[in-house]
């Protein structure tokens, strides 16, 4: 029976619609170009994704027809732009599982969203001797703010290790998450290993000890259906540009009680209620955290990206990525000298595929692939501690999204085989 369910989950016919890849690819003008005589193959989606025409057009349309500063003006354009900006907030609230729109704060990106929590909630709540728990697979964005906060407050940073297969090692979890834990900060999906972490399970454990939980969803929200309420987290951060939207827009979801108790982050216009020379009161949520003029045009255009993803359906998107990840891992594994990092089972991972070559440095791999029109990332992926745990100085990383197809993987595999010949291996 279990086997049958597994098979059913794999079959696109059960509640899932096949994806019209040709049509989707045609929606992304950037994909249709030749670079140095090669068709562009874009496999750097974990860094940023390409934008569909509807998103590009939304930016143009905003500046052509609606541009005005929000929340203040008493004219048509100001009302219209405010309405559009706030509409995206409502849409985001719905997209992450139906939270109160007041709990959705716009930032510049995931990094700023996490820093907002570190500088406000962290400053007020982390005390000497408190414990902050992170994982060994964190991106620097969900690591450096906590290292610095722990240093400043004389708090203790503890970490959940990873197993050989790239999962979180929970064998000693009850010694790591304890009554001393004030904060658990973990990534929902690793930007290096692709591992999907058991956020709900670990949150439940942390909550038992009264800790606050922040999840970095930068790699998760673009690829999985995420419901922050069922995850149970207090804070959840992600970025528009990794899910078809413009750069410069991040989202911090925070539980209302926590956000209300926190001091503001950026002081200035928009975030105040009343100001005199000796007294200031803060605006209500979410304005309290959005001091200054925000990135209005890109927030407005992010709405189009959310619509686009909803039209495809996050379940269909996930199925497509699982199928393609499986295909990629199968074919990449067959290349001699190539080592793939992270879990093998596609149910437990996303389409971020880090690999190394026994003989070649990731930068040589990346430069070689670039000469064939293939864009991947090489380096430490802002996860230097993880690199040292993996025993690698760097990895090459191919990462997938909705518009990638088997031809992209075939091109990658063919180029990697040619690469070894080129370097005389």
């Amino acid at each position: 029976m279990e086997q049958k369910i597994k098979n059913m989950q794999h079959s696109p016919s059960v509640g899932l619609l096949p994806i019209d890849l040709e049509r989707i690819r045609a929606d992304f003008p950037i994909l249709d170009q030749i670079i140095d005589g090669n068709q562009l193959v874009y496999l750097d989606n974990a860094a940023t994704t390409q934008k569909p025409r509807v998103v590009i057009n939304a930016i143009i349309e905003y500046y052509r027809k609606y541009n005005a500063n929000i929340h203040r003006g008493l004219h048509y354009l100001a009302e219209k732009s405010t309405e559009m900006y706030e509409h995206t907030r409502i849409h985001v609230a719905d997209f992450i599982g139906g939270v109160d729109p007041k709990e959705v704060i716009f930032t510049r990106g995931t990094t700023e969203a996490i820093n907002l929590v570190a500088y406000t909630w962290g400053e007020e709540n982390i005390k000497e001797g408190d414990e902050i728990v992170i994982t060994e697979m964190e991106h620097h964005a969900n690591l450096v703010p906590w290292i610095q906060l722990a240093k400043k407050k004389k708090a203790i940073l503890k970490r959940i290790p990873i197993t050989f297969c790239g999962h979180l090692d929970q064998s000693n979890i009850n010694e790591i998450i304890t009554s001393k834990t004030k904060l658990l900060a973990l990534t929902h999906m690793s930007n290096v290993l692709g591992t999907i972490n058991p956020v709900a399970e670990l949150t439940a454990l942390a909550k038992k000890h009264g800790a606050v939980v922040l999840a970095d969803g930068a790699q998760a929200v673009p690829h999985l259906k995420v419901d922050v309420k069922s995850l149970g987290v207090d804070f959840y951060a992600f970025s528009s540009h990794k899910m078809l939207g413009p750069t410069g827009v991040g989202i911090l979801y925070g539980k209302k009680e926590l956000l209300e108790a926190m001091p503001p982050f950026n002081m200035g216009g928009e975030m105040i209620r009343e100001v005199s020379f000796d007294h200031v009161t803060w605006a209500e949520l979410p304005n309290k955290f959005e001091g200054g003029t925000p990135n209005i045009a890109d927030v407005v255009a992010f709405d189009a990206a959310l619509h686009y993803l909803e039209e495809i359906g996050m379940d269909n998107l996930r199925q497509h990525e699982m199928d393609l990840t499986k295909y990629a891992i199968e074919h990449l594994s067959a290349i001699p000298g190539l080592e793939i990092q992270g879990p093998r089972e596609v149910e437990q991972r996303g389409g971020v595929i880090s690999f190394t070559d026994n003989d070649l440095h990731p930068h040589d791999i990346s430069t070689f692939l670039d000469s064939k029109g293939i864009a991947i990332r090489a380096g430490h992926h802002c996860a230097q501690p993880l690199m040292s745990i993996l025993g690698k100085i760097a990895t090459a990383r191919a990462s997938l999204y909705i518009y990638n197809n088997e031809a992209d993987i075939d091109a990658l595999v063919k180029a990697l085989k040619g690469m070894r010949r080129y370097f005389g291996l």
Binding site: D36, H363, H380, I393, A394, Y422, F423
Partner: protein
């Protein structure tokens, strides 16, 4: 990409990469130093034996890409047997060349001009620079009398 692949990965570069020179350990080195390129993780160890103001021997071990390995290998080959003054001058010329400065490259520098192709790949210039700036800094510390091992970073 602004250059063609073969301009960077010339045969000479690939030869140095596959069989790097200067791999014989130098137990009696006069100074040893390390270089690190944090953005790509390249690491190298450098040891130099000085005798009568000459660079008597060089040991270099680079854990990095083809370009940083080949560049270090060329350094070992070219600087060995040169006077300290000459070695410093050559290192400064190579650094200038890689940084796109208007420098004249002497003809007797062996394979070094093969590194010129790297200039067309801006993100890779620091790979080629690593060995040379590590040598320069190590030499400076040696001449200033600080025998302690240091680490040079290329950003």
């Amino acid at each position: 990409m602004s250059g063609s692949l073969d301009e960077m990965y010339r045969d000479i570069i690939l030869d140095h990469y596959r069989s790097p020179r200067g791999h014989e350990p130098l137990p009696m080195a006069d100074f040893s130093t390390g270089g690190h390129n944090p953005s790509c993780g390249d690491e190298l160890k450098l040891a130099v034996k000085i005798e009568d103001d000459m660079v008597k021997d060089i040991y270099i071990d680079c854990k990095g890409c083809a370009i940083s390995t080949a560049s270090g290998s060329m350094l070992a080959e070219v600087l060995k047997g040169k006077s300290i003054a000459e070695a410093k001058k050559i290192a400064a010329i190579v650094r200038g060349m890689l940084k796109g400065e208007d420098v004249e490259i002497p003809e007797d520098l062996g394979d070094i001009d093969a590194l010129e192709g790297v200039k067309k790949f801006p993100v890779r210039i620091k790979c080629a620079l690593l060995a040379w700036v590590t040598f320069m800094e190590g030499m400076e510390n040696y001449e200033n009398g600080s025998g302690e091992a240091t680490t040079t970073s290329v950003e």
